[in-house]
């Protein structure tokens, strides 16, 4: 893209705002875009993790030995921050057990293991060709039932996000097609081939969240996809915005800033400033769920990497093992050194290729030693500031790194550790090969732990103080009782008769005094607490 083009593009899109930072790693999208999206055959085994998104795991409604049909519910959503799970094909349930999945840690997760019978028999589904016939709440119900979560990678449950947006009243729906990771081409392939369906899905989303405007934001280097979208968007109220292609523009907050010029204030959600953002893949899934009536059982996944002979985009069933997809592309086993799920910058290294594709898997990379050499030894930070230039949220990663090493938690918070989106741009450019993101994650965990400990110790301190206070109180009471007894005895001896009423009054007085003192203590200890804070 030449400078002239960029200038013209700028003129065409006066709405695009400049965002700080960003990097431009070399793109590897062309190889996987050479062929069209290919539907995968049914594998011999499907692994369905119950937690494929952010939030709470789904609750299985089937038992081992059951036979399920395609589209049948496997697990239902547990509460609002959970999504349902459906059978991708007709199969029998072999096992429900803890299995290795790709979740960034070595932790096993509860999965439903299916053995497809190959017949691919489906249950009845009800397509709704005209979504306008339904109210937005009915549509929301359908979307919830379809078990869709964000397809961009983060995997926030769609229904919950929509509900939040309806409650807060959003004005603008942004469809995120600014796929900026160097290896991923799933969204681009989807737009190229099914632009109309994506646009239809976006319209449904717009009518659900009641936004007055809808914008599709796409990176300006995806020329074929832009052409397809322009054609699909003719006579439509949806606008197309081309943002500059650089890495981390695809992040939710960054894209909102680029499109609207508004920043999401710290501690707030995009819906608080009246914006809802959804991925293109999610829009497509919504189209499928409403117009075709199909729940979310497949997604578009880029399978790429130089050890693969024919990298391509697959329309793959959820639960397909990664090795099955690699074999479909033809893999050079000798060159293959490792696998990545997600992009090369924000993705996770896979512990094994046996793990399944989940609803958030937009890309699978088979790595080779040349492209992904093993991490070089970490050297000293020379404060070159490349990281600060690359940071899309204007942090100072070099300072954060220094504070993380010397464990200065107050400084870390002051310098905005919790504003870090962990995009990894800083670590990508770092000439000292410092795994900066790893430091930040460790520091975040440490600070959380420290805070929990502080709360705990504060709790125990108040308990202890109260204990001390109670002991003292008991002593006082005993003394009081003793003195009052002496008094009453004295009164008895002096007056010659015992007044029951007066004694009761005295007791009531004493109790009131004690209560007053107690409440005073509690309020004073609260004040102390506040002072400490």
């Amino acid at each position: 893209m030449t400078i002239v083009d960029r200038l013209l593009g700028f003129k065409r899109n006066p709405r695009v705002h400049k965002i700080p930072g960003g990097i431009k790693p070399p793109a590897f999208k062309a190889s996987s875009l050479r062929s069209r999206i290919m539907p995968t055959p049914i594998p011999r085994k499907l692994i369905m993790p119950l937690l494929q998104h952010q939030g709470v795991a789904a609750c299985p409604v089937v038992a081992v030995g059951d036979r399920v049909l395609k589209y049948q519910l496997l697990a239902e959503a547990r509460g609002t921050s959970s999504v349902a799970l459906h059978a991708p094909t007709s199969a029998s349930i072999v096992e429900i057990s803890n299995t290795l999945v790709a979740n960034g840690s070595a932790e096993l997760q509860l999965c439903i293991l299916l053995e497809p019978d190959g017949a691919d028999v489906a249950v009845e589904i009800t397509p709704i060709p005209d979504y306008r016939a339904l109210s937005h709440l009915q549509l929301l119900e359908l979307v919830t039932a379809a078990g869709i979560c964000g397809m961009g990678g983060a995997g926030f449950p769609l229904a919950e996000k929509l509900r939040l947006s309806i409650d807060k009243g959003v004005e603008l729906l942004i469809i995120n097609a600014a796929e900026c990771e160097p290896y991923i081409s799933a969204d681009e392939a989807l737009i190229r081939e099914r632009a109309e369906l994506v646009v239809a899905g976006s319209k449904i989303l717009q009518s659900i969240c009641l936004a007055s405007r809808c914008i599709i934001a796409i990176a300006d280097d995806k020329t074929a996809a832009i052409t397809a979208l322009v054609n699909a968007l003719q006579n439509s109220s949806i606008e197309l915005v081309q943002v500059r292609a650089k890495y981390s523009i695809g992040g939710e907050k960054q894209l909102i800033q680029a499109v609207t010029g508004v920043e999401v204030p710290v501690g707030k959600l995009p819906s608080d400033i009246g914006v809802l953002m959804q991925n293109v893949g999610t829009a497509y899934a919504v189209y499928e769920a409403i117009v075709e009536g199909r729940p979310c059982i497949s997604r578009i996944t880029t399978v790429t990497g130089s050890p693969l002979i024919t990298p391509k985009n697959f329309e793959t069933l959820i639960g397909t093992p990664v090795s099955f997809l690699f074999d479909l592309c033809g893999i050079d086993k000798s060159a293959h050194t490792g696998s990545i799920m997600g992009g090369s910058l924000m993705g996770i290294a896979l512990p094994s290729t046996k793990v399944p594709v989940v609803k958030t898997t937009n890309c699978l990379i088979a790595t080779c030693a040349e492209e992904f050499p093993p991490a070089a030894p970490e050297q000293a930070c020379i404060r070159c500031g490349f990281c600060a230039t690359a940071c899309p949220v204007s942090l100072l990663p070099q300072q954060l790194y220094a504070f993380a090493r010397s464990r200065e938690q107050d400084q870390l918070i002051d310098y905005g550790l919790f504003d870090c989106i962990e995009c990894g741009a800083c670590a990508y450019v770092c000439p000292s090969q410092i795994p900066l993101v790893q430091y930040y994650r460790a520091s975040k965990a440490e600070i959380h732990e420290h805070r929990a400990q502080q709360l705990q110790s504060a709790h125990w301190q108040t308990r202890f103080q109260y204990h001390q206070y109670r002991l003292k109180e008991q002593k006082d009471e005993a003394r009081e009782r003793k003195s009052s007894r002496i008094e009453t005895q004295a009164a008895k001896t002096s007056n010659g008769h015992f007044s029951r009423v007066r004694a009761r009054e005295e007791i009531a007085d004493a109790v009131a005094r004690v209560k007053a003192r107690k409440s005073k203590f509690i309020s004073s200890s609260n004040i102390d607490q506040e002072k400490k804070d």
């Binding site: 508004v262 050194t337 490792g338 600060a388 949220v393 100072l396 504003d419 990894g424 795994p435």
Partner: protein
């Protein structure tokens, strides 16, 4: 099998410190070759000696500190320190001056602080400043091999005899006969035209400047333009490769230029030197592009870098014009280094989502 890093990002830009430092050294080459053409081989000998001493010291200290010697030598930081130091000190000064300076630079200014990346002061300039304070005379005299013979006998400092004399100047113990050595160092070139300007009074050099001496003339006082242009080219190369950012050099050069212009204009006697003299008749260019931009000791925020450049620019001008030391780059840069942590603290960028609250649709 080989493994990937545990934590994202799994991809890397492949730029390493060693490569950055090497590029800085490469960018020095035009300036060094110009200076060599002007001053003879003395500069090359200085730099070579400095590199040898620096690498040996670095390796020794890394061994004492029980670090991985090969890994840390490969970052080439000692190389850059040595080259910048070698450029700064006058050619033809004895070898022990180089050793003392490098020792201070590598041991005190760098490794006492914990090595590369930890030192708040530019090591090369610390070493230079120590020498400037300890041996003011030696540091002010830039010997030119038989400089007085230049015009009369068309003496070439780049010739074999020039090399010989340079060697003798640096390592006097090589001379068998001490008398012959003394005979050959009668040439004394000033460090910079500015130095001559400071020493010879206010107008002597000015007159020479304005009488239209060719900038290619290899006599003392001129020729420094060429050296500066060499460093300017090297600096532009670094800018092009994005090794350094534009903030520090630009703000520094603009500050020095503006100050020179402001103080030059009102005085009819032109007592403080022309902007041209300040920018090209001294070490401003190497200071702006190579020394002030040392990432370890400079400010790191963008706003901080601009203020840092301005602070150094003002310090350079003040020391040059009102101070008693001849060349002020080292002093000014160290002063800037001292201010850098405070500048970084007060010039932090606004983090996304903090502060400004703008409404949608406004």
């Amino acid at each position: 099998m080989q493994s990937l890093a545990a934590c994202s990002p799994l991809q890397h830009s492949r730029l390493t410190i060693g490569r950055i430092m090497l590029l800085v050294v490469v960018a020095c080459i035009p300036g060094i070759s110009m200076a060599t053409w002007f001053f003879g081989y003395g500069l090359i000998i200085n730099i070579g000696l400095a590199i040898c001493v620096a690498l040996a010291l670095e390796a020794a200290i890394l061994t004492i500190r029980q670090k991985n010697v090969r890994l840390h030598l490969a970052d080439n930081s000692a190389l850059v320190t040595a080259v910048l130091f070698g450029i700064a000190i006058p050619p033809g000064c004895p070898w022990w001056i180089v050793v003392i300076g490098i020792f201070f630079a590598i041991v005190v200014a760098k490794h006492i602080y914990g090595g590369l990346g930890q030192n708040p002061f530019n090591p090369a300039m610390c070493g230079y400043l120590l020498l400037l304070l300890s041996f003011p005379l030696e540091m002010a005299s830039w010997y030119l091999p038989s400089g007085s013979l230049l015009e009369q006998q068309s003496f070439n400092p780049l010739s074999w005899s020039g090399l010989q004399q340079s060697m003798l100047l640096s390592m006097p113990f090589l001379a068998v006969d001490s008398i012959s050595m003394h005979a050959s160092i009668d040439g004394l070139a000033m460090a910079t035209p500015l130095a001559e300007f400071n020493m010879a009074g206010k107008s002597a050099l000015l007159a020479a400047q304005e009488s239209g001496l060719s900038i290619f003339a290899r006599t003392s006082g001129t020729g420094w333009e060429l050296v500066n242009i060499g460093y300017l080219l090297g600096g532009l190369f670094l800018l092009y490769r994005r090794i350094i950012s534009w903030h520090i050099p630009l703000s520094l050069i603009v500050t020095v230029g503006l100050l020179a212009m402001f103080f030059y204009a009102p005085g009819s006697s032109a007592a403080y030197g022309t902007p041209y003299l300040h920018l090209f008749g001294s070490a401003t260019m190497i200071g702006a592009f190579f020394i002030a931009t040392d990432p370890v000791s400079a400010a790191t925020t963008n706003k901080g870098k601009i203020v840092y450049g301005i602070v150094i620019g003002c310090a350079i001008y003040a020391i040059r014009v009102w101070g008693s030391y001849l060349d002020s780059i080292a002093l000014a840069v160290l002063f800037g280094n001292f201010c850098a942590p405070a500048l970084d603290h007060f010039c932090r960028p606004r983090i996304y989502g903090h502060g400004r609250s703008k409404e949608l649709g406004s």
